[in-house]
Symmetry: C2
Subunit: 415 residues, 2 copies
């Protein structure tokens, strides 16, 4: 098939939709707080649906609230190509994380409309529900239900910190759809995303060709100590759960440092102590932790190395340390053919590229187990993300959006 690099998305129009999105859930520091299925998320979802309908798309919403906006193709036997990401944000998130991928999908549809360009395969812009996991855990739950990795009932039962279930939030916002939408109805998925790391920005490279994903292990650690009075209880009689938590935190941090030259990292990100009161020794701490590495085998080793240390950490802190629950994702490689469409599209534009693995979790990682999938990264300022100061310029995203259009077009018109 012929190259169609003369067709370019309207980057200014895309930017204006990004700036409209940035008005919905704006934080005082200019970031976004648009938690999944919040009032703000509902407003943004409706805005997205309005735009898609204005662009002639047919909207379907599935029972987990994923939104599918389809631009028809010419071949009734050809399955749609999914293009999208997520519109929800962290509690102190940025204006581009996820949002760029959804609105770039919309821009592709608008561009094809502008050129009256039909494609053989339909193109479906998708917004996945609760990608961030900032309100309901686990993250990426919309794509997990779409791929049947999680049941709708499991998802509905997830509670936010106020005890509101995801099912309740879906009903309240009116986004519990009735369409049965599943992976086998689609051809492939392309997800454009800001890198959320500094590699492209540091090296001043234009496009990230994402070949796969880091292996990720998340886990919750419980630390059991003993309460008592902070005054009279002698040091040797103490079992302070916060001291246990400190030993665990530094052990996990050290494992990340031990592997950082090969791209490893480890994090203690969340903590809750009990009774957490003035005057009382803490008898319980719950912490949420994370380890990542480019190689699945190494992240398994990292977690193993931590678990091996537990008896020593218990002895040092006189607390009992239990790894309570865990989750894993990533560690896979994206579809060679789809990745090559990204690579060759970037090359045809003459863009500078970097082949890399995604270190963050993305819905594309769930979908990749069921459909040919690829991701494209754009640079982001200083690699900063999950932060209100997250930033990109129009020039930063233009190459990635051009590549997205080309890769999708080539996939949509392949014979």
């Amino acid at each position: 098939m012929s190259r169609q690099t003369n067709i370019r998305p309207d980057i200014s129009r895309l930017w204006s939709t990004l700036m409209r999105s940035a008005e919905i859930g704006t934080t005082p520091k200019g970031g976004l707080k648009r938690l999944a299925l919040s009032d703000e998320d509902a407003i943004m979802r409706q805005q997205f649906i309005d735009w898609c309908e204005q662009a002639g798309c047919t909207i379907r919403i599935d029972p987990i609230g994923n939104i599918f906006a389809e631009r028809a193709g010419t071949d009734s036997d050809a399955k749609p190509i999914l293009v999208g990401s997520h519109l929800d944000t962290q509690a102190r998130g940025g204006r581009f994380d996820g949002i760029l991928g959804v609105l770039a999908g919309l821009e592709i549809v608008r561009t094809l409309n502008d050129h009256n360009l039909a494609t053989r395969h339909p193109i479906t812009v998708v917004n996945w529900t609760n990608e961030e996991g900032a309100r309901f855990e686990p993250p990426m739950i919309g794509s997990a239900v779409f791929t049947k990795q999680k049941s709708p009932d499991f998802a509905y039962s997830r509670l936010d910190k106020d005890g509101i279930s995801l099912g309740e939030a879906l009903r309240k916002t009116g986004f519990k759809g009735e369409e049965i939408v599943s992976a086998d109805q689609f051809d492939s998925l392309f997800e454009l995303h800001i890198e959320q790391g500094p590699r492209l920005d540091d090296a001043k490279l234009q496009v990230g060709v994402v070949t796969g994903a880091f292996g990720v292990r998340g886990f919750v650690i419980e630390i059991f100590g003993e309460t008592g009075h902070v005054g009279p209880t002698p040091m040797p009689a103490r079992r302070n759960a916060l001291v246990g938590a400190a030993h665990v935190t530094l052990a996990i941090d050290a494992i990340g440092w031990a592997h950082h030259e090969t791209g490893g990292k480890s994090t203690t990100m969340r903590i809750r102590a009990e009774p957490n009161l003035l005057g009382a020794l803490p008898d319980y701490v719950e912490m949420t932790c994370d380890m990542r590495h480019p190689e699945e085998a190494v992240v398994i080793d990292m977690l193993g190395a931590f678990k091996t240390q537990i008896p020593e950490l218990e002895a040092r802190s006189r607390c009992r340390i239990v790894v309570k629950e865990g989750w894993s994702y990533g560690g896979m490689r994206f579809d060679a053919e789809c990745v090559d469409l990204v690579r060759t599209s970037a090359k045809d534009f003459g863009y500078s590229t970097l082949e890399l693995l995604t270190e963050a979790g993305h819905d594309a990682m769930h979908v990749a187990d069921y459909l040919p999938t690829a991701m494209i990264f754009t640079p982001c300022e200083g690699g900063l993300s999950h932060n209100e100061a997250e930033n990109v310029t129009l020039a930063d995203i233009e190459p990635g959006v051009n590549v997205l259009l080309q890769a999708v077009l080539r996939r949509a018109n392949r014979v």
Copy 2:
């Protein structure tokens, strides 16, 4: 004056009042949750007032809710002797901490009534408001207002975790009194308390003669990091505030261990992290910490040693560490004459004693700056306190209660 050791309190009667108290705010594990000025505390306060009135006492309640129940003396020029402690508890507290001291005061009044025994000085049983600090901070706020170390307005403005002010809670429970009660109206204070440490119980000694108090420093530490995505942010680019908190916690713990042979201890007891979410590096941690030592000069050194380490802890964690606010109490010695009354009363009974300093904070420490003051400790099982499993037996408390009555009687009838 003559010894009156033939007069003994009715320990079974005292025990029955303690068991009645243990029914008000009982936790599933058999401890007490009777936070200051909660509904449960209000019920207990009314029960205490009823008992005191039945014993012929005159009740006064001051504007901070301290309750004073006076048994008249024979000499209208002699000032009352205060005997008491507190009826509020920790969120997961025990059945005796504080409560024993108040109800032993009531038992003394009842015993004197039984024997138709008048005293020259009046005896006033006192219940101090919000000793624990488990609902409103700082702790020991009732005695601090009584001694004018804190203003009533400062106390009223204290907020609990639900944003309810102490002033509001006083009004809601009806315990905002109108009586002007101040230290200069009284002769002295005797406070009986469980030890809340293991020394008496370990050595099987019957009475603790409390000669003074540990020096105490409390402080709040803020740790400033930077948020970002837990995935792509490389280890060297991180400033994880929980890693800073872990370094701080272990540094503080080590200072306690370095001084534990001379009785020092240090604690990190409370923590709050932000944004405290899955997927985001923590950019802020607030921790509440505590250091104690028998010698005021040493506790000053301990805190100094921690502050000296801050630049190194900052370098290790790449976070900014700030000691935000602090408080201090203790470090004083009780009144030699009052302490000697306790010592000789115990000796006259033939009780085994231990001279020791209080390691916990007590209202007596505030009052000691204004009135001759002494404290008596009873053993408590395993030294466990601020814990639902806190326990004493009737036999554990009997010697201390006998000594309290004798010491108070001798003080009340001195010429």
